[in-house]
């Protein structure tokens, strides 16, 4: 026998015991030492401090150079407008309209994108006919469709919902298709060797493997949904936060415009956070891939 194997044999004797007893390291997030946690807190504190610092500089500059409220309102003016808007209920009622458009549109996009992705990945013919067309239509800037949708569906909520659905659909579809295809061929064979049917392979392998990708798509799509709703309201509407921005701009109430932008960012942040949390909870075995297919 070669000396090589002899050496391996000798090495194994030493290694055998530790290998059997090694307890693998847990995921890094769970094994944070107190020292590391102490170091991480200031990072967030710093960003908050920088943000507050910028607001202060903004306030000081506006007051020092006596900049007109019509050009750039001071943060204090924005805050006052924000409080006023919530007091008289206008910001609340318009927010509810926009939220409704976003949620219904987003829901339609999620449903149709997932169904399309399943059909595309399960049926060869659907893929051959539909997928090239879908990729082609992806190059159309979806916001350009908003005026058409207003013409077709009126200035009510349906045209906004459809704009949102259209804009959120593609990143979801692409990611879901990638996701349903991401299961390794060997994994499929493994399940087949245990006698799994096609439906069982779908349920036990392809759907769970798709989840990280689907959530990457959801993260992009939820932000795009907010954009879609606002753009559709710009084009033609009588209520909603996009309408409020146009109305306040028209009356040169720039502080109110800023206040609406603040509300819109808050809506975006909250929706995004909900998606991320849901993803962490459902896709617990892996970090969500960050290379989401994004497009506007």
């Amino acid at each position: 026998m070669s000396t090589n194997t002899k050496r391996q044999a000798a090495g194994r004797e030493e290694r055998a015991v530790p290998d059997g007893e090694t307890v693998p390291v847990k995921a890094p997030t769970n094994s944070d030492t107190p020292a590391r946690r102490r170091r991480r807190v200031p990072e967030i504190t710093y960003s908050v401090l920088v943000f507050i610092g910028l607001l202060v500089v903004w306030q000081v500059v506006v007051e020092m150079f006596d900049i007109s409220n019509i050009l750039v309102p001071a943060p204090s003016a924005v805050a006052v407008s924000l409080v006023d808007g919530f007091r008289d209920g206008s910001l609340v009622s318009h927010s509810i309209v926009t939220m409704k458009e976003i949620l219904i549109g987003f829901g339609i996009a999620v449903g149709s994108a997932l169904v399309s992705a399943v059909l595309i990945t399960q049926f060869r013919t659907v893929e051959r006919v539909l997928f090239p067309l879908l990729i082609l239509t992806q190059t159309i800037p979806k916001v350009a469709m908003a005026p058409l949708l207003i013409v077709w569906f009126g200035i009510g909520i349906s045209s906004k919902v459809l704009t949102v659905a259209l804009i959120a659909f593609f990143p979801l579809l692409i990611n879901a298709v990638l996701g349903f295809r991401s299961a390794a061929h060997e994994q499929v064979e493994m399940l087949r060797s245990f006698g799994a049917s096609r439906m069982q392979v779908m349920r036990h392998l392809q759907i769970p493997s798709a989840l990280p990708h689907i959530f990457a798509g959801l993260e992009v799509a939820v932000i795009l949904s907010v954009t879609g709703a606002v753009v559709a309201e710009f084009v033609g509407s009588s209520e909603g936060l996009g309408y409020l921005i146009q109305a306040s701009n028209f009356t040169l109430d720039v502080a109110r415009t800023f206040a609406v932008i603040v509300v819109l960012s808050a809506v975006g942040i909250v929706l995004h956070a909900v998606v991320v949390q849901l993803g962490k909870w459902l896709v617990f075995w892996t970090a969500t891939p960050s290379n989401a297919a994004s497009e506007v």
Partner: protein, 262 residues
């Protein structure tokens, strides 16, 4: 067809051939006229160069691929043969969203057969594989060797009579690999399943097997079947005996002559 003298025969391969169509329109012959009879309880290793159709052979037996010609017969009761087979792959192929225990229960879950008995069996397997503390862990918390042990346990879950192993230790480091081989022998010794074990490593093949099937490069044919008449239970020290070296040398020469012939 099994005859009355074939009652001990677990698998019989009759002139198995396999042709793959290539993209350019031609065909590649992966297997050519492979015939082999495996006794029940026998441990067979299959060695050969890459691409000699070793994996194809297992895949055909498992029913994952269909042979172009020839026949696979399972004896003596050939009706429910799929349940008699368990397959271990080169990669552990565990489902990362299932705990170790639930990965073991993959097969019963697919057949809606999870009950108290299968849970008990899973517990037994965890102990046997030295993973009793890891039942509720997820695969990414386990080392490569531990993951592959779960892969083996998953194949043993439905208590198959025949175990097909496609380079199961190929992805492991040399030290873990030796240990896993010996562990496998221990498991095999308990109820003597029929094992077909594909490997690249000649010493590994000899250490584990009763007979070593040597295959030629494409098209895959049987070059020879080498008897390993070493006493059991085998230990790692067997590797250093002259008898062991002789068998390894014999197989190596067989492979070399086949290589130069092509």
């Amino acid at each position: 067809m099994p005859t009355s003298t074939d009652t001990d025969c677990a698998i019989r391969l009759d002139s198995l051939s396999m042709l793959y169509p290539t993209k350019s329109g031609g065909t590649v012959q992966a297997l050519d006229d492979v015939s082999l009879s495996v006794q029940a309880g026998e441990f067979i290793s299959i060695v050969g160069p890459s691409g000699c159709g070793k994996s194809t052979l297992l895949r055909i037996i498992m029913g994952l691929s269909r042979q172009t010609s020839g026949q696979v017969t399972f004896g003596p009761s050939e009706d429910t043969h799929r349940n008699q087979l368990g397959m271990v792959f080169q990669q552990p192929l565990l489902l990362p969203w299932r705990t170790v225990r639930k990965n073991l229960l993959t097969s019963p879950d697919l057949h809606h057969a999870r009950d108290a008995a299968t849970h008990e069996k899973a517990d037994e397997l965890l102990v046997m594989l030295g993973l009793e503390e890891f039942g509720d862990r997820y695969p990414n918390e386990l080392s490569g060797g531990m993951q592959q042990r779960v892969g083996i346990g998953r194949a043993l879950m439905h208590d198959p009579r025949i175990l097909l192993m496609d380079e199961p230790f190929g992805a492991l480091d040399a030290m873990t690999r030796d240990q896993m081989g010996l562990d496998l022998l221990k498991i095999w010794d308990q109820d003597r399943k029929t094992v077909l074990f594909v490997t690249h490593s000649i010493p590994e093949a000899v250490l584990l097997a009763d007979r070593v099937v040597v295959m030629t490069p494409r098209p895959g044919r049987l070059a020879d079947v080498v008897e390993v008449a070493l006493p059991r239970p085998r230990r790692l020290e067997n590797i250093n005996t002259p008898e062991f070296g002789e068998i390894v040398l014999k197989i190596r020469k067989l492979l070399d002559s086949e290589h130069s012939a092509h």
